[in-house]
Amino acid sequence: MKDTGSESLKVVVCSGKGGTGKTTLALSLAWTLGHAEEFSMPVRLLDCDVEEPNCHLFLRGNYAEQIPVLAEKPVFDMQLCIGCGRCANKCRYNAIAVVKGKPLVFNDLCHSCGVCGAVCPHDAITLKPEPIGEVLVDGSHRPFSFMFGRLQIGESQSPMVIGKMLEHVLSTGLNIIDGPPGTACNTVKAIGAADKVILVTEPTPFGANDLALALDLCAQLHKPCGIVINRSDNNDGLIEALAEEYQVPVIGKIPFKREYARACSDGLILTAEYPELRAEVIGSFSRLLSAAAVPAVVAADKIEHDECRIDSGSAADRKSDDYQELTVLSGKGGTGKTTVTGALIALSDSLVAADCDVDAANLRLLMNDRVLYTERACLGSEAVIEQRKCIKCGKCFEQCRFAAIDFDAAAGTYRVNELNCEGCGLCVEICPAKAISEKRAETGNLMLSESARGRLVHAKLAPAAENSGKLVSMVRSLAFAIADQQQKEWLLVDGPPGTACPAIASVTGSDRVMLVTEPTIAAVHDLERIIKLVRHFGIKPEIVINKADINPTYARKIRDLADTAGYRILGEIPFDETVKEAIKAGVPIVDFNEGPASQAVKNIWNRIKETRK
């Protein structure tokens, strides 16, 4: 293997969505390169999936160093505050209220933008750092050093935790970064730091769908990529065609074997257990170095819009009691959530479906739908600098908390980096020349589809767009209205991964929450985190164990956990090879065959119906 030549190399391992084997590959890569004699650089693994970190479950780490991640929150000096309410007025996050002259701060809503302090006419606000997460470091771990970040449950500022981690990359050596799933702000933060990106996918229509989203994002960020096909069965035409279209090489394949799945479920590193995979992993890495390419821009299915409508989603944001809303979540992708959801859609004859995974919506792949209606959703705002008025003082550049102002040294101009801009409005307030204003930013598209199975509401978040939680709320709003109008019995919501804004927006106010998990060390860990979130809303989750027989130890752990807390297990789905074939064919399992998995899902649906509230 040739050496990289550079002192520090940052490789981000990503996928459009979780569950494709991102963590598996990142761990195998770190372990194998760490051991490889021909590779002389030190290796560090950074788990930047801070909403659901998993890598540490596979390692016996000794986290001697624990670095708190701090975010600035406003503190009021009541001697100076006159209760004018300017701060509350300017806060985009509704984190401050002023009633009867008294300010109230809600720290968990605060994004630490600093606009409150900047607009206070009496300097009554100071910003004080408060912990929102932590970074744990095991510098002496062998054969690679390791660190992971963890966002406190209930906090939303995951890019800040990722930013903290990126301060600790090796300045000499190879940094392997396990990135967050999806294509939202946290992923942009991680990929933004990359020299090269590995995109992990699987050879199914879902894998292809999510891979295309990730490729679009890398094209936009100008990052060279290579594709690794996980669970390959040497029938990977779908992915290979996509790779060719985007002109990005397929740099490796990990074959599909039940024993590999079993090893991962037990928390084992694949290449440590299976020497036959080491050459493939090293080969993939060499090909990444030699052949990675920035994806070509592929023309997307463009939809014409006249203007950006502000009051998007005129639908009612309330629910009637005529239908029941069932939200399906998993904490993280890859546990079979969409497979189960797709099957339930096929089984019900009175249902509206809502795909709230706005980062990587893919329910429609199972529904064979036709889009009836598209609306451009513009929910946030973005700063714009009017160059003619700009006096180039650099104040915006210095004070922006989101690194969203770029300085072009050659031209001497300041410009807004639209991918980083949160639209907090700080720069608008502090610009002495009043050269900065705000324009509405595109959040994505909201769509309504018709299919033989019923109507589907879904959305596509624009890459790195803010307000994914808001877009989720819009999807649900429209779905409420449709369920009402069509007098359906069920509203089935396919929820997003993670525990931050979009997950929160899909759970709040739901009637029932079903958690799809699998008996693996990582899934059980994620299950515990998502249960905390669901419980926060006063909802008792119901649980489905997918691939229940793949690992009896962890299956028992899930049953015990449910038992102790009094959560109902709706059913267990056995490992069934034909599920993969059904996914590949894009057909819900219950329509595909009468096998054991198909039967299990039918039983689950019957149990859900029996207990309709």
Binding site: A88, Y93, N94, A95, A97, V98, V99, K100, K102, L104, F106, D108, L109, I153, G154, E155, S156, D311, S312, G313, A316, D317, R318, L379, N467, G469, K470, S473, M474, A500, C501, I504, A505, V507, T508, G509, H536, F537, G538
Partner: protein, 121 residues
């Protein structure tokens, strides 16, 4: 007493909307004079976060002495409490007048804490 009531439509026969922060509109009802005015809640309708906080602030600014709604989350509760506004939680399908009558005859007591766990963000 000046009540602010979350409702689904602009009518004295309107039922109390169980949602506070994301209610469609509010009735400001003065039980002394019988006067009623209507105030849409559209401003927060699309808010991704903090709807209850903003709404509570607006309700206080309307001059409410008491709020009638279905459920009140902890954030909105904190705002209303700080402003000395009483909160009445109504179960079932009551109209504005029915709800006010029940409160004034002492059948419904003011809440002493948030009744739904709030949500982050």
């Amino acid at each position: 007493m000046k009540y602010v009531i979350s409702v689904k439509e602009q009518s004295l026969d309107a039922r109390v909307d169980s949602r506070f922060g994301r209610a469609q509109m509010f009735a400001l009802y003065d039980s002394k004079t019988g006067e009623c005015s209507w105030h849409p809640n559209t401003q927060n309708f699309q808010a991704a976060q903090g709807a209850g906080i903003q709404t509570a602030q607006n309700v206080v600014n309307l001059g409410a002495e008491a709020v009638i709604s279905g459920h009140c989350g902890p954030k909105a509760y904190r705002v209303l409490e700080a402003a000395g506004v009483r909160i009445y939680s109504i179960e079932g399908n009551l109209t504005i007048k029915e709800a006010v009558q029940m409160i004034e005859s002492g059948k419904i007591k003011a809440m002493e804490g948030a009744d739904v766990e709030g949500h982050w963000v």
